[in-house]
Symmetry: C2
């Protein structure tokens, strides 16, 4: 059987990984992934054969994973967080029709919306949107419309890829857009290096967030109108206490 | 130390649970939760003391978990999926100020958006919204606005609680609202009993989804304008192939 597992490893440490993810890595012949993610997993499986590629090589990486599976090896392609949320699962299925003999199994993991929320308190106990600020693959005007529409509908918002070297001011731009709709006092949160060295979190207002530095290892949370700062935790009530 | 873990167990089986969730359950004195979720976990920990409550007893359950922790027992409160996404984490933090000695730790899990997506293919590889159709705690006009705004912004949408006995026609109503904005051919998916007996999934159009029966064990996915049905899988391209 020719088999390819596309696995979300969660934030990075073993404790945030599911048993299914662990088994898919333990049982494979070759571990494939972006160098940074392979490095997170490799110490747990020191004897595992590895094929790793750099960033921006997504198509090559997925093509290679399918080719290796086609050759008869059992392959596990690892992604950080959940393999289906901004992960490689979609690209694998786009390429899959050229590899009809390869059986694909997606193994989901804990995405940064969940792991970051746990660090900050409970910002996502009600409806929310997940939006990436990277305009590498999405025009900025679409991102802007998504921010505005989500805020106007009272959704909490999780921002993935809030900034990078090249996009140093993107979080600031997003906050400026959101403040057209939301008050500057809106409760927000920022989670850094979730599940890794240097893990930290901070609850602050939208106005403060605007002037906060972020990088690609941050996940940002914008509260809705009911979100509160309770003793330093970011909490969106679900409404049970009003029933 | 007085400690309360609020744990997401994922879909229900051990393989979808994280190592941290397992350890929090294994290490606690008393397992607390809604009867149905306790029943999913209990066979894995047959000797564990249990305090379970029925549905709609959320405040009582969380209050009791905090009281038990206050008395010096280590408590683990279990939720299905992720404890922070429509889970008990928020209510625990709302009640927590009355129990200042209790240390709270949220342990996130794989939510139905992730586990359902893995079953259907890769519907969430781009921006998306998560919306509950339950109007028990949210007025319907807010839900309607969230559906419209999300669809207009080109977000994929995940519907939690798409229907119940009392709300038999809610998925139909939601589809009718979405079809004001989205074409009937929009690719959609429905995942049933994820990670449990009777697990199944189906990829279909929005028009077909409108006439499909759903219940409280379903999670529903609405694609965006780029979402495709590739050999029976629901796939939202992220755009890597266009770079």
């Amino acid at each position: 059987m020719k088999k390819l597992y596309v696995v979300g490893i969660g934030p990075g440490e073993k404790e945030g990984m599911t048993f299914a993810a662990w088994e898919a890595i333990a049982g494979c012949d070759i571990l494939v992934g972006y160098t940074k993610y392979v490095e997170l997993v490799k110490p747990l499986f020191p004897d595992k054969a590895v094929f790793q590629t750099g960033m921006m090589k997504e198509v090559d990486r997925c093509q290679k994973a399918l080719e290796l599976a086609q050759s008869g090896k059992t392959i596990t392609l690892v992604c950080s967080g959940d393999s289906g949320i901004y992960g490689m699962a979609g690209l694998i299925y786009e390429l899959a029709p050229s590899f009809p003999e390869v059986e694909i199994k997606i193994v989901s993991g804990v995405t940064a919306a969940s792991s970051g929320a746990a660090l900050l308190g409970a910002p996502l106990t009600h409806d929310f949107a997940v939006i990436s600020l990277s305009d590498l693959l999405t025009p900025w005007d679409k991102i802007e419309k998504r921010l505005i529409n989500s805020a106007e509908a009272g959704l909490s918002i999780v921002l993935y890829n809030p900034a990078s070297h090249r996009r140093a001011d993107y979080l600031q731009r997003a906050c400026d857009i959101l403040m057209r709709v939301l008050p500057g006092e809106t409760v927000c949160g920022i989670a850094r290096n979730i599940g890794r060295d240097g893990e930290s979190s901070q609850v602050l207002t939208l106005a403060q967030l605007r002037d906060t530095e972020a990088d690609m290892f941050c996940t940002v949370f914008i509260g809705n109108e009911t979100t509160k700062n309770i003793d330093g935790k970011m909490v969106t009530p679900r409404g049970y206490r009003n029933v």
